[in-house]
Amino acid sequence: MARILVIEDDVTTAREIATELTAHGHEVAQVHDGQAALDMAMREPFDAITLDRMLPGMDGLVLVERLRERRVLLPVLMISALSDVDDRIAGLRAGGDDYLIKPFASNEMAMRVEVLLRRRQQSSESAILRVGGIELDLIRRKVRVEGEPVRLLHMEFRLLEFLARNAGDVVSRRIIFEQVWGYYFDPGANLINVHIGRLRKKLDRPDKPSAIVTVKGEGYRLDAV
């Protein structure tokens, strides 16, 4: 469970974000204007922030800059009605960690918050990632499944690493495409499916179910098997 600060001026949207995050087992505090949000973020401990880009009183960009100036290094998911790549770059440059465009699907938003929370937890972890029988050596970039080495291509390794870092959580195709490949357009469902399919072929063992689970309509999850 994590404590999340939801900064959003539209009350219905704020309530929806809160409901979804609560459903994912997090504790949520809501604020509806910039100054109150800044005060609250300084006063109380949080694990992550969702931040509307256009707030009354203070621009979301300014808010995230103020937070960073005050050494508040919490992961920030910026939510914006502006979809231009320049706006995204501005949001990330100001100190945002991820950028989600309105209108968004609630579960997609929650997934992104989970990804940010996971990233924060893992930043000081060891160089070996283990999920069930899968072991990733992050320094030598080697993978073993049930102790047997598996040769992965560069992007396959990055895909597996991302799934492993978020093991147990569903990540959407869009999040995968953004975080693994670094592009912000819709690649179409099939493209990511094919890459997942190839990775599965290399990881799966005949006597076990696939470690990569497809969650219909949502995305993929790496499970410990």
């Binding site: 539209d10 790549v85 309105k102």
Partner: protein, 451 residues
């Protein structure tokens, strides 16, 4: 495009230079013709004056009795202070009888003839021969060295002034062309800035009211209008973005929340899921449309940097290779190193990726898709070729229209906005997007204009 430093080629091509040259040429022809006329008239006048003297002297000698003629000739020679007059008396056979002229052939009695000078003996001479009643011939000559010198000098002056005038015209043309050319360069730089999306830029006006000022004024009015329209479109886009996105987020969220209720009936849950799927499709298209207008109205070139197109194409092959392989399509790349352009790499990747994705969708199973990246002059050319059904020539423009779904796209995933996005990205990068027949199949080409 004018170069930064002015070159003679630029100057030579200006209308000022050509006009100066033409007017100068007309003036030069006029001056030379006038000088020529003066020269011709004065030469004729000098000749005829000298001939009149010859004829008067001839008439005087003809009136003298035959026996006194040799004496008169001797006296006349003696009296010729300048030594420039020549006399001669020839018998019927042309043998000299008196005078300092040793005879001459080829003269016609009664006519004046000019004899070229002989070095060390005499200068050029005009010579008149008259036949006496006794059948003898009197020759009278005048040395016309000063006259010939004068003629030569006048000719030299003409030739020299002709060359000088020509040089002056060239210099004047060049100097006169400098200023308009510099102004034109400034106008051109302004135009390029405006074309690059800096709609606040205006063309410089000097206030002279000349044709360049008039032209710049007209362009500025046009840019004002374009700027006004663009900002209106942008304002509408922003309003749509802000005022519709938040309510749409709410609609989706509430629908989703309704579907999450534990006591929902399976029938209703199915309906909610179907409504969500439809809504997501609408939202996706809405997002794509907004993105196209943002790409078309934005001045995003601030974030541009040098993009290595060969590396970009290799990354695209890595991304789309597995998709092609799954359909048994051979995906090949032919990329020239050094193909670079100024742009946004993420957007260029999206455009190239979209075209590759289309080619893979439309190539037959077991077919082939080839990507070719080349630099062409100072531009670039990216070609994606498949061996699918292609696009009939009369539909190649239509496919760029928003929501267009071509024949043969039934059952193929897509919103009909993909190529509109590619076209918007191409436009932002000042690239052209067009389609050609690969015989069989389609060539989709992104290229710098004229390459």
């Amino acid at each position: 495009m004018l170069s930064e430093g002015l070159r003679f080629r630029d100057i030579r091509n200006t209308s000022t230079f050509r006009l100066t040259l033409l007017l100068g040429l007309v003036a030069a022809i006029g001056v030379v013709a006038l000088l020529g006329l003066i020269y011709g008239l004065s030469a004729r006048e000098l000749d005829s004056r000298s001939d009149r003297i010859l004829r008067a002297e001839a008439a005087r000698l003809e009136g003298i009795r035959r026996d006194q003629l040799p004496d008169h000739i001797r006296v006349a020679i003696r009296r010729s202070v300048s030594g420039l007059n020549y006399y001669g008396l020839l018998d019927r056979e042309g043998r000299p009888l008196a005078g300092n002229l040793r005879g001459s052939s080829g003269f016609v009695p009664g006519h004046v003839r000019e004899i070229a000078g002989r070095s060390g003996r005499h200068g050029p001479v005009r010579l008149l021969a008259v036949r006496t009643a006794a059948g003898e011939t009197i020759l009278i000559g005048r040395d016309i060295t000063p006259l010939v010198d004068l003629r030569r000098r006048v000719f030299e002056v003409l030739a020299f002034s002709g060359v000088a005038i020509a040089l002056l015209i060239l210099i004047a043309g060049t100097l006169l062309s400098f200023a308009p050319l510099r102004r034109l360069g400034r106008l051109q730089r302004s135009a390029h800035k405006i074309a690059a999306g800096h709609l606040e830029e205006r063309m410089p006006i000097l206030g002279r009211g000349d044709e360049l000022d008039l032209f710049a004024g007209t362009v500025n009015t046009m840019v004002d209008e374009v700027g006004r329209v663009v900002s209106q479109v942008k304002a509408v886009t922003d309003a749509v973005a802000h005022d519709l996105r938040t309510p749409l987020t709410r609609v989706r969220a509430q629908l989703y929340r309704a579907g999450q209720q534990p006591d929902i009936s399976p029938l209703l849950a199915g309906k909610v899921d179907a409504a969500l799927a439809d809504l997501d499709m609408v939202l996706e298209r809405f997002a794509a449309l907004l993105r196209i207008s943002e790409l078309e109205t934005g001045s995003r070139r601030a974030g541009f940097h040098t993009v290595d197109l060969a590396a970009l194409a290799r990354a695209a092959i890595d991304l789309y290779g597995p998709l092609a392989e799954e359909r048994g399509i051979a995906l090949t790349l032919e990329a020239a190193d050094g193909a670079r352009m100024f742009g946004d790499d993420k957007l260029l990747f999206e455009a190239v990726g979209n075209l590759i994705d289309n080619a893979i969708k439309f190539a037959p199973a077991g077919g082939r898709v080839g990507i070719r990246v080349r630099s062409a002059g100072d531009g670039v050319r990216i070609e994606i070729r498949d061996n699918g059904p292609g696009i009939p020539a009369d539909q190649r423009k239509a496919v760029l229209r928003r929501f267009h779904r071509g024949a043969g796209s039934e059952g193929v995933e897509g919103s009909g906005l993909g190529l509109s996005v590619v076209a918007a990205i191409a436009h932002l990068h000042q690239l052209s997007l067009d389609f050609d027949d690969a015989k069989p199949g389609l060539i989709a080409r992104l290229h710098s204009p004229g390459r």
